[in-house]
Symmetry: C2
Subunit: 104 residues, 2 copies
Amino acid sequence: MNEDDLFRALADPTRRAIFEKLAAGSMNASVLREGMGISQPAMSQHLSVLRSAGLVREERQGRFVNYEVDPDGLTHIAQWLSKYRAYWPARIEALKALLKDMDQ
Amino acid sequence: MNEDDLFRALADPTRRAIFEKLAAGSMNASVLREGMGISQPAMSQHLSVLRSAGLVREERQGRFVNYEVDPDGLTHIAQWLSKYRAYWPARIEALKALLKDMDQ
DNA sequence: TCAATACATAAGCAGTTGCTTATGTGATTC
DNA sequence: GAATCACATAAGCAACTGCTTATGTATTGA
């Protein structure tokens, strides 16, 4: 779970779509695959990449494997991003709102 | 300058190193290449990728081309990240500090 | 226990990536 | 204006990626 794995995992649009879908709520690999237009092994491989990047974690439930967003990966990106805060324009309203949320 | 270009640009460790070096201060491609162990064309190609991703911008100065961090790319990543704020653990102190900086 | 289900792994392949050397293009300097 | 310097582009190539089909491995239920 290093920086390289993280950015490389997010570099693929299909994996970002999977991640985004999981962010809406945890689900198993089969449900996750619905409407994505890829084979079952492809999904399994993508989930493996996301998992070793720390973006997703799994929990076996019977013969299903439930996947959910792992905050660790997101935290790592936030830390990477924070290194460059000197370059952020002051007018990022969305981010300001985010910070206010975090103060609660 | 879409999301795909952004994450794909950051997926390469050499490009992240270039970006990090530029974050410490703008400089031209030759100075940037010092100690990086890649050829001049390789550097030119990396800078081209970073530029079309919106992470870096250039300004010709005589026969030199000065490169600097483009805040647009970072803003875009921050926006992407903010979509998943629901999953951030409350204890991200670094980010909290960042937010306080931005309120000024 | 045997068939079915959910998922992972193996193997192979076409397309992409990052690098190199070679060459082209502006800008400067003599 | 010819040589030089800073950088970009072209072409080619080895390595990597993301996909497929085929097969393996747990888990469940009849």
